[in-house]
């Protein structure tokens, strides 16, 4: 069966520090992968999506970047975190039209 893993679950980082969040998918090949951010009291905002290795599309200009070094691996990064980067980050992959989400990473930038 297909599963999606995200880590870490919780992260507290100081302003200006780097960030790396990892997402991996099992049980499928060549998935479309997505990073969403959920800010407090808001809906989900699509940050990046990838249709294949090395292919990244950015939906909004921001302090973050994404990479897809392997077929089933999707990484969200930042060189220098801002306070506004705090939020709940969700990785997802798509099967047909329905998304399957990971369990999320709660990032607090202090």
């Amino acid at each position: 069966s297909q599963t999606i893993h995200q880590w870490p679950a919780t992260l507290v980082q100081p302003v200006g520090s780097p960030l790396s969040l990892e997402c991996t998918v099992e049980g499928t090949s060549n998935p479309n992968l997505y990073w969403y951010r959920q800010a407090a009291g808001r809906g989900l905002q699509l940050l990046f999506y990838s249709v294949g290795i090395g292919q990244i599309s950015s939906e909004v200009p921001q302090n973050l970047s994404a990479s897809r070094p392997q077929d089933r691996q999707f990484i969200l990064s930042s060189k220098k975190l801002l306070l506004s980067d705090s939020g709940f980050y969700l990785c997802a992959w798509i099967r047909g039209v329905a998304y399957t989400f990971g369990s999320g990473t709660r990032l607090t930038v202090v």
């Binding site: 479309n32 009291g41 699509l46």
Partner: protein
């Protein structure tokens, strides 16, 4: 432009009471519609989806939703709420071949004994 509106930020219901969560969308074509549930600190779980056909769709955990094209709505319902249903609920709209879902801002459900 596509958009999803969930007009109720927070709803409180008594356990055993019926529930309806509202969702209205703005979309040019026939949309694909979804309801997701998010427990605290967790990812999103798909409750149900509508692509075409019967406008009343059944989902997991006893939930159902009805697509009403004339009202641009896709409201989520449950006849009898359980305490474990307390969570945040998100409505989303998308289309085949698109690389995005548009989410509403969510409705937080509190269930009181």
């Amino acid at each position: 432009a596509q958009s999803v509106t969930q007009p109720d930020i927070h709803i409180t219901v008594s356990e055993g009471a019926s529930l309806e969560l509202r969702c209205n969308y703005s979309y040019g074509a026939t949309p694909y519609l979804f309801w997701y549930v998010q427990s605290p600190g967790q990812g999103l779980q798909l409750l149900l989806k509508y692509f075409s056909g019967d406008t009343l769709v059944q989902g997991i955990k006893g939930f159902e939703a009805e697509f009403k094209r004339s009202q641009s709505s896709f409201n989520l319902r449950k006849p009898s709420v359980h305490w474990s249903d307390a969570a945040e609920y998100f409505c989303a709209v998308g289309e085949s071949g698109a690389n995005n879902l548009f989410f509403g801002t969510g409705t937080r459900l509190t269930v009181i004994p």
